[in-house]
């Protein structure tokens, strides 16, 4: 089979995964998109392994490793999302804005600590 078939499929899946990571609001949907990207990578690894007839089977072994790590990552990622959900009552990514530059204007914000970004209404750029 032409090498391009699996390789192009992997590229398409990767791009779709990028779209999902950037465009989805819910954190779990973002995790799903990340899985798509990892799968694309895995497909690439396997295809090249078979094409190159690697004696060490490095591509396939790496694919196993990636699958394992993806599983670990999903577990931890979900734990974090659960924690965020418990504290902020939302799993929407654009409501988590603590990286935002804090306003220096004092009106109405005296006494509030810098971590209180979650109660603002979502204002995306």
């Amino acid at each position: 089979m032409p090498l391009l078939l699996p390789v192009l499929l992997a590229a398409l899946l990767f791009s779709i995964g990028i779209y999902g990571v950037l465009a989805r609001r819910n954190a779990i949907l973002v995790l799903m998109a990340v899985e798509l990207m990892l799968n694309a990578v895995n497909l690439n690894l396997v295809a090249f392994d078979v094409w190159l007839r690697d004696r060490l089977l490095a591509g396939q072994v790496f694919t196993l490793f990636v699958i394992t790590i993806a599983a670990a990552e999903i577990g931890l990622g979900l734990a974090i999302i659960l924690l965020v959900f418990r504290n902020r009552a939302t799993a929407a990514l654009d409501e988590l804005r603590d990286l935002r530059e804090q306003d220096l204007a004092p009106a109405g914000r005296l006494g509030e600590s810098g971590t209180d970004g979650g109660t603002e209404p979502a204002v995306t750029s």
Binding site: L13, Q60, F65, R86
Partner: protein, 177 residues
């Protein structure tokens, strides 16, 4: 010949369901479409004669990861049924589409340019991805990373438990409303 046709079909399925994963308005449907995608990719592995990887994909990815995702959906009170606020704002979506499109374009163009005309010679009599071959490689050449990986899994396990544990001193009103 058949291999290529089958691979093409599986590729279409995978791409289609991946698109649905990232665009559908129902969260649970997204998880289910992810199952379809992962299954199609497993089929692709099979066609590429990587059997062991294919079954591991089915077991771990579809069996464990998707189930975990569904649990996560349940615990975060994901909306059942169609919901409009799953996507980010139009501007953000547009930017994401542009970036994704650009990535696709760059990758496709450079890959086509690099690997045009290459062929994979599939060995059907002695499949490369046979369990014995993979197992041998894993426990001979790759045993050290394998062990490290198990330590990693342990760390992830411990970490997940620590993170999701409720503290004893946590006041009740810190809980989910």
């Amino acid at each position: 010949m058949t291999v290529e046709v089958l691979f093409g079909l599986l590729g279409v399925v995978a791409t289609g369901s991946a698109l649905l994963v990232v665009t559908t308005r129902q969260m649970v449907h997204a998880a289910l479409w992810l199952v379809v995608t992962l299954g199609a990719v497993a089929g692709c592995y099979l066609l590429l004669s990587a059997e062991f990887v294919a079954w591991v994909q089915v077991l771990i990815y579809i069996g464990a990861v998707v189930v975990l995702l569904l649990f996560g959906l349940m615990l975060t009170r994901a909306p059942i049924g169609a919901s409009v606020d799953l996507d980010a704002s139009m501007a953000q979506r547009l930017a994401a589409a542009v970036v994704a499109g650009a990535t696709a374009g760059v990758l496709v163009v450079s890959l086509v340019d690099a690997f045009r005309g290459e062929h994979i010679a599939l060995e059907t009599d002695r499949p490369r991805g046979h369990s014995s071959a993979v197992g041998a490689a894993l426990f001979r050449d790759w045993v050290l990373p394998f062990e490290v990986l198990s330590v990693l899994l342990l760390a992830a396990l411990v970490g997940a438990i620590v993170l999701s544990r409720r503290d004893v001193s946590e006041p009740a009103e810190r809980g989910v409303t």
